[in-house]
Symmetry: C2
Subunit: 329 residues, 2 copies
């Protein structure tokens, strides 16, 4: 089993790489080769099978052709620029998030014309395909009315994935990831960054700013669950999907207050005191347009699983990033 | 007021051209120039204002730039290849229905970078963006799960239209047309052709084949209503659309039995006897995947209007195509 990860140098890509190496197999078949591709050359990792690393800009014509020439059995397509950057740079967002994906899909289709080949392709979409007005809990058949270019690009890629799969060019599964918390590493500029920051920073003894009210509700899962979704999507029997190949992943609908209560249970009052309230109207307005809760009925019935309490999310962070102990605890 | 129609040589394009010339105005402003573009050069039409005709293939780079260089105030984008052709020729469908539209949208955006310009753009989408399983009556916020490449291409263009409008590159309105009956002219190869054929042919004394059962239900409007939708979409106050710029048009949900009853009321038993039942399993299966009924609540509340009985649809055909009388009547 040969696996290709595109966007392998990113947060989810690195965790997926680790998980695949640890498992050594996918869907019961031993992994024999792993190709890690990203515009920023991914780090070469030690593994009991062949790992190769490719630096490639998916938005450049020809790049995808090179990646698919070795005909991997499973392709994880995670490469994207984030919402904020796609909003700030219209052309770059469409070039990478839409055209990059289409170039990949076309490269697979053309490779399949040479000799039959139908790899499983797992694509990471986002709940940003939904935009207000929205019901309190969003059903699986809710229309996509994105309010960002990033969300538009993800929604278009979902449509392409479904059509290419229907045509038999590849065997696609699109998964709409919740907002992933706690995102490890340095704070980034994403408007959603504070959801992770108010857990990550205080647990490291560092102050974190909370720009929204405590009753703000959003939809979360841990990086660990995200990796679980990707692997389950790669192993899934596609017949069960019928014609609907894009799925809202399960997640946890929680408020900031619930986040902070979980933080206190793990870190105590001293840690929670490091969260400084500094309401920011701009961020507040952006966040007010985001989805708060989903039914995710189809994904649950297909066996996808996420955290069911914020304690689980904080615990996953402490176990996976902090060696299992709270530095300040 | 300068108006550009792309796809002007098509069935809807020709009827829209006639209607605009007859009205002489749009949204209360006198029409001063009309540009008719199509890959098949549209016929030059006499009008009390300047009419120009352009033969241009929208899917070729540069073609859209020429069309937008004169900065029309309103652009009707009707150019497309139909469902059957887009399904038979994957690359052609994407080249015309998706890339052609994107080249047009990009040409408008770039023209607006030279000097501010924000034309109203009316795009004809289709109920083919919806695919089974579907509820009996489809609400306005139903997810798009097209089961054809044509429907996929239309759904993608809707998403692009919304994002380009949100960005202020143009002022777009996307309208999902019902199946248009009675389509004038020779029978075409569309799987939906019989819905028009069983009215049009018998009224001309010619036999027509009915490949599906009498209880098959579908969603219709007349060519006259389609032109009405286009003009209303061009005149609409966009503020009322808020962020949802793509609308399911109103229509008539009717069965074949209701169609035939209306035909009999206008043409008598002799005319209805020209409908020959010849069940076709392939067509039956295709049609079974089509939507049957919509709420179209938003479009109705925005003032769009369609026929409310099949008699109205047959009457529109007799008035607009047969000079007001039934040849065999
Ligand atoms: N993290 C989240 O909360 C979240 C939520 C929903 C969806 N997603 C999606 O999941 C995927 C992975 O997310 P992440 O958090 O790991 O993002 P990330 O930004 O950490 O990783 C994305 C990777 O894609 C790479 N990339 C960007 N442009 C590229 C190009 N032109 N060619 C090749 N590689 C390119 C980047 O270098 C980066 O390593 C993305 O598609 C993202 O849109 C993430
Ligand atoms: N007729 C219907 O029932 C129906 C239903 C839903 C949506 N629509 C949509 O409404 C629009 C008009 O429909 P119609 O029935 O008049 O279709 P039509 O086929 O009669 O007209 C389409 C026109 O587009 C032109 N065209 C095709 N490729 C082109 C290209 N590359 N460059 C320039 N022009 C090109 C064709 O020459 C044709 O004149 C289409 O976009 C169609 O998809 C129609």
């Amino acid at each position: 089993m040969h696996i290709l990860i595109i966007g392998a140098a990113g947060m989810v890509g690195r965790k997926l790489t680790e998980a695949l190496i640890a498992a050594g197999e996918l869907g019961g078949k031993p992994i024999t080769a792993l190709t890690l591709a990203d515009v920023e050359a991914p780090m070469l990792t030690l593994a009991p099978f062949h790992v190769s690393v490719v630096a490639a800009d998916l938005s450049l014509p020809g790049a995808a052709d090179v990646l698919v020439a070795s005909r991997p059995d499973v392709i994880f397509h995670l490469a994207a620029i984030v919402s904020g950057e796609a909003e700030a740079d219209f052309e770059k967002g469409y070039a990478i998030n839409l055209d990059g994906t289409r170039l990949l899909f076309e490269a697979i289709r053309r490779e399949g014309l040479v000799a039959p080949w139908c790899p499983r392709l797992v694509f990471t979409s986002s709940i940003a395909v939904f935009g207000t007005p929205l019901p309190a809990s969003i059903p699986d058949d809710m229309a996509h009315t994105p309010l960002t270019s990033y969300g538009t690009q993800k929604a278009i890629c979902e449509l392409l994935l479904a059509d290419y799969s229907r045509r038999g060019f590849f065997d696609g599964v699109g998964i709409r990831l919740p907002t992933i918390v706690v995102r490890p590493g340095a704070p980034n500029k994403a408007a959603s960054g504070f959801f992770s920051g108010i857990i990550r920073e205080p647990l490291n003894g560092v102050e974190a700013v909370l720009p929204v009210a405590d009753d703000v509700r959003h939809w979360f899962s841990s990086p660990r669950s995200a990796v679980g979704f990707l692997i389950h999507a790669a192993e899934l029997d596609a017949a069960a999907l019928e014609q609907r190949r894009n799925l809202t992943m399960p997640g946890l609908s929680a408020t900031i207050a619930e986040e902070l209560a979980a933080l206190e249970r793990f870190g105590g009052k001293r840690v929670v005191a490091l969260v400084r309230r500094a309401p920011d109207e701009t961020i507040g307005r952006i966040v007010a347009g985001w989805p708060q809760n989903f039914s995710a009925q189809r994904a649950l019935s297909l066996g996808f699983r996420a955290e069911t309490s914020f304690d689980d999310i904080v615990r996953a962070h402490i176990e996976d990033e902090l060696g299992g102990r709270v530095p300040l605890g």
